[in-house]
Amino acid sequence: MLRAQCITAAYGDAQALFGIDFSINAGEIVALIGANGAGKSTFLKTLTGLLPVRSGELEFEGQSLRHLDAGDIVKLGIAMVPEGRRLFPSLTVEENLLMGTLSGRKGSWDLSRVFTLFPILQEKRSMPSTSLSGGQQQMVAIGRALMSNPRLLLCDEISLGLAPVVIREIYAALPAIMEEGMSLLIVEQDVQLAMQASSRVVCLQEGLVSLEGKSSELSRDQISKAYFGI
């Protein structure tokens, strides 16, 4: 579905990705792990078009993404739940969700299905998004991305800053999201959570892939070494 070959990217003169090879298949859940500054969020930015790819190949369902901007890429079916949720403060919960429909993609995800997945959002649909708790805001961010009916959903640190019970609730919703062959790429600081939720793990270190394997087969030592480089 998605194939990245020797991707490099930089913020001005500061190079952040040094040649990443990565792929994800239809219906697969892949966890992207790594220490702070390893390049996880930068990699997601290149996938969504927020940061240009300097060199390498990046293809989604056979189409090159290299010269497309973020607006074009979401129309192809790649949506992101950004780190820190990034809801629009001047929009209500429902208006935030409706922003997802701007991609113009047709599919089974609409307001009623998001409200079925997260019933609390229906109760709070007319409230400003900033008045919600952190967990509820994360639900809005996930619902907003789903409203674009993506083929590939990128989740950047969706557990960050949330209470364990809320994290469990959000991760419990993933199987319902994964219906119909959607693929999921999760960036997660909590390695244990990432391993449980995914079928495959890719670890980044200093802008390079340091480890890749099935979640069920990787040992703690392998991950520690790939994560910290020691």
């Binding site: 927020l50 607006g71 992101m80 001047s90 409706l98 922003m99 997802g100 701007l102």
Partner: protein
């Protein structure tokens, strides 16, 4: 006293039209258009030329001009002002300041320094009386247009998909891109709408009084004061700010003919000191 209040509010209606475009551009793009007043005067002169060239009535002439103003605003934002936007507000200030100089010199070259006005016909002098207060039809019409423009702008922002897009790019440009929005286009649409208001304001100003190429900076000042008093990015706030400005100026004019503008500036200063964020900051849906 009632007459002073009424005349002040009617004057404020015109100031609201000067200021709404400024409020819109600041609300969506955080862009302060220092050429706002000059664009209003340019709109006024173009209205005069349109009416002279086509023989249309001033109202119909404005209706022809308004869609063209949208296109002009769209193109200006898309091909010039978008390149000045960023964290640093200085480039957009410098570029619009440059535009202000270009417009003033263009108007001097084409129309000369002589004041001109848009002949509005019988409506310019028409009035009616309530007890011993005389109300002009044109100022009343201008006030009604300002009220309607404020309501429509607020409704556009609150209830339409385009309004949601305006608010979203204003809140978080990068997150809006992730939704499929192209900020460059959204900004151009916002400036297009602002320029429709600018053309309307220019035409009405040229009907109300004479206009000259050097008038722009004073109109900018009125627009700017109304926006600041009301609160940056709030349309109802801008209207209230403009009405307060008109009212204060009118009171000043009554005390002494030379005091009107000065009284307005004084009130602006008082609001800045007491409530620097303005009376109704930031438009909300």
């Amino acid at each position: 006293m009632t007459e002073i209040i009424l005349q002040g509010l009617l004057l404020g209606g015109l100031y609201a039209l000067f200021a709404l475009g400024q409020s819109l551009m600041f609300g969506v793009m955080r862009l302060t258009n220092t050429a706002q007043g000059d664009f209003i005067i340019l709109g006024g002169f173009f209205a005069i030329s349109t009416v002279a060239a086509t023989g249309l009535s001033p109202g119909l002439g404005l209706l022809v001009l308004i869609p063209l103003a949208f296109l002009a605003g769209y193109a200006l934002q898309r091909f010039v002002l978008n390149y000045t936007l960023g964290r640093d507000p200085l480039p957009s200030l410098v570029v619009t300041f440059g535009l202000s100089i270009i417009i003033q010199n263009f108007l001097l070259e084409v129309y000369s320094a002589d004041p001109k006005s848009l002949e509005a016909g019988s409506i310019a002098l028409a009035s009616f009386s309530v007890s011993d207060i005389t109300v002009g039809i044109l100022p009343l019409l201008t006030f009604g247009i300002a009220l309607l423009a404020t309501m429509l702008l607020q409704a556009l922002f609150s209830y339409t998909s385009l309004g949601r897009s305006f608010r979203a790019v204003s809140d978080d440009r990068e997150a809006a891109q992730l939704m499929g929005l192209k900020p460059a286009i959204v900004y151009a649409q916002a400036t297009g709408i602002a320029f429709m208001l600018i053309a309307l304001a220019g035409g009405l100003q040229a009907m109300r009084t004479t206009i000259a190429p050097a008038d722009g900076p004073l109109l900018l000042l009125f627009a700017f004061e109304a926006v600041i008093i009301g609160g940056m990015g709030s349309f109802w706030g801008t209207l209230v700010g403009a009405l307060l400005l008109g009212l204060t100026q009118q009171i000043g004019f009554r005390l002494d003919p030379g005091w009107g503008i000065w009284f307005g500036h004084l009130m602006f200063l008082v609001v800045l000191v007491i409530r620097p964020q303005g009376l109704f900051p930031k438009t909300r849906g």
